[in-house]
């Protein structure tokens, strides 16, 4: 039988990039997202056995860790600074990308916590069941929540026609 360690390795390779990507999109801070994703998987390893639904467990732990950091202010999110840190390569394409990044970041930050989590988790391929279990929501309503979150995001982003020409 496969050992816990072996199963952890497989799980890590599959889910670490996704958990990191969601946290990075939520926080807007790649360093903080890396810390949180790492801590999430450390906790999974220290647990010593896999949960029934590893995806839901990881979502729940990652979001709780983020909430703790966010609310206690132990780490400051550096939301808008990312755009200024990005290398300024050349004019138009880079400026457009920088502006899009700023607008996406601003829209995500203005979403409610629940909308942001649902939108980003689904965008990274987590199932409705995993999202519901991870966030403590009723699975039967995830589709409606998701549609509302998407609409809110697009409204906050601005006129989508501008974004897509």
């Amino acid at each position: 039988m496969e050992s816990f360690h072996d199963r952890f390795v497989v799980l890590f390779e599959t889910l670490f990039p996704r958990i990191y990507r969601v946290l990075n999109r939520i926080t807007g801070d790649p360093d903080l997202a890396a810390d949180l994703a790492q801590e999430t998987f450390i906790r999974l390893y220290r647990r010593g056995f896999l949960p029934d639904s590893p995806e839901a467990w990881l979502i729940s732990v990652a979001m709780n860790l983020f909430r703790n950091v966010h609310t206690t202010g132990q780490r400051r999110r550096r939301i808008l600074s990312l755009a200024f840190r990005a290398p300024q390569i050349r004019a138009s394409a880079t400026e457009d990308a920088g502006e899009s990044r700023r607008r996406v970041r601003r829209a995500l930050d203005q979403l409610s916590e629940r909308d942001r989590q649902i939108l980003l988790l689904q965008a990274d391929g987590f199932s409705y069941r995993e999202i519901a279990a991870g966030l403590g929501l009723h699975e039967a309503s995830i589709g409606v929540f998701l549609a509302r979150a998407r609409r809110a995001f697009r409204k906050l982003y601005g006129d989508p026609d501008d974004a897509f020409g």
Partner: protein
């Protein structure tokens, strides 16, 4: 009758229940309005996902081995936070459902002792001071709400000992064992009994109306109640010894 928003989203994301797929597709084939809504939702999702990629950064190139190594070499401060977390869990569980003779104070005392060890503080001269002794039968326990689904997990198999499972008319699951025989943590839909090194026996009373209750020893399921169906049908006394 048009498809509701939940159904449109589930169609889009492949999340419809199999039994709902055929009727939904049949409706789509006959309803231009719903087809248009689905197409609009598809387009909006694609555009949203395109926008979200602007927020991405490269994924750190860490290996599972690195993370596992970090997990194994915990700093004292890290251990202290973990212990504090367990205390919080115990506190929450106890506040919700401590039954008479609860072992919670004793477990909390053990955790406090562990915290002291973690941060290098010598144990108090009388570590049990202030902790009520179990003056009853020597058995103590905890009760938790079964919710819709709960897994009761014995972390380790034992060389001796068993678990007596009975059905009750109560609302809560009650787990009892000899005082000090095990520690536990409570998570959503899970009660974990840390029985490493124990050879004691336990009692679990399962509410007759609980939806789903599973008892496991490690990876092995030794008892499952789904609705009124029981496996095994007459559980009574189940071994905690390894079956492998």
């Amino acid at each position: 009758m048009h498809l509701d928003e939940e159904s449109i989203q589930r169609l889009l994301n492949g999340e419809l229940e199999p039994s709902a797929e055929t009727p939904a597709h049949l409706h789509l084939s006959q309803c231009a309005e719903c087809r248009a809504r689905l197409e609009a939702a598809t387009r909006e999702e694609e555009e949203t996902h395109t926008l979200l990629r602007f927020a991405d950064h490269p994924v750190p190139a860490w290996s599972a081995e690195t993370i596992a190594a970090r997990a194994r070499s915990l700093s004292p401060a890290h251990g202290m936070r973990r212990a504090a977390g367990i205390l919080v869990v115990i506190g929450l569980a106890g506040a919700a459902y401590a039954v008479p003779g609860s072992p919670l104070p004793k477990w909390a005392a053990h955790a406090v002792s562990w915290i002291r060890e973690s941060i290098g503080v010598p144990p108090a001269q009388a570590p049990e001071a202030g902790v009520p002794k179990d003056r009853g039968s020597g058995m103590s326990g905890i009760a938790v709400s079964p919710g819709k689904n709960i897994v009761i997990l014995f972390v380790s198999s034992q060389s001796e000992g068993n678990v007596r499972v009975s059905l009750s008319e109560e609302k809560d699951i009650v787990v009892r064992g000899p005082s000090g025989s095990a520690n536990f943590t409570s998570e959503p839909e899970r009660l974990v009994i840390h029985n490493e090194g124990s050879n004691e026996s336990y009692e679990i009373a399962v509410p007759r109306n609980a939806s789903r209750v599973e008892i496991r020893v490690g990876d092995s399921t030794i008892f499952l109640k789904e609705g009124s169906a029981l496996s095994p049908q007459n559980p009574s006394v189940l071994s905690l010894r390894s079956t492998r």
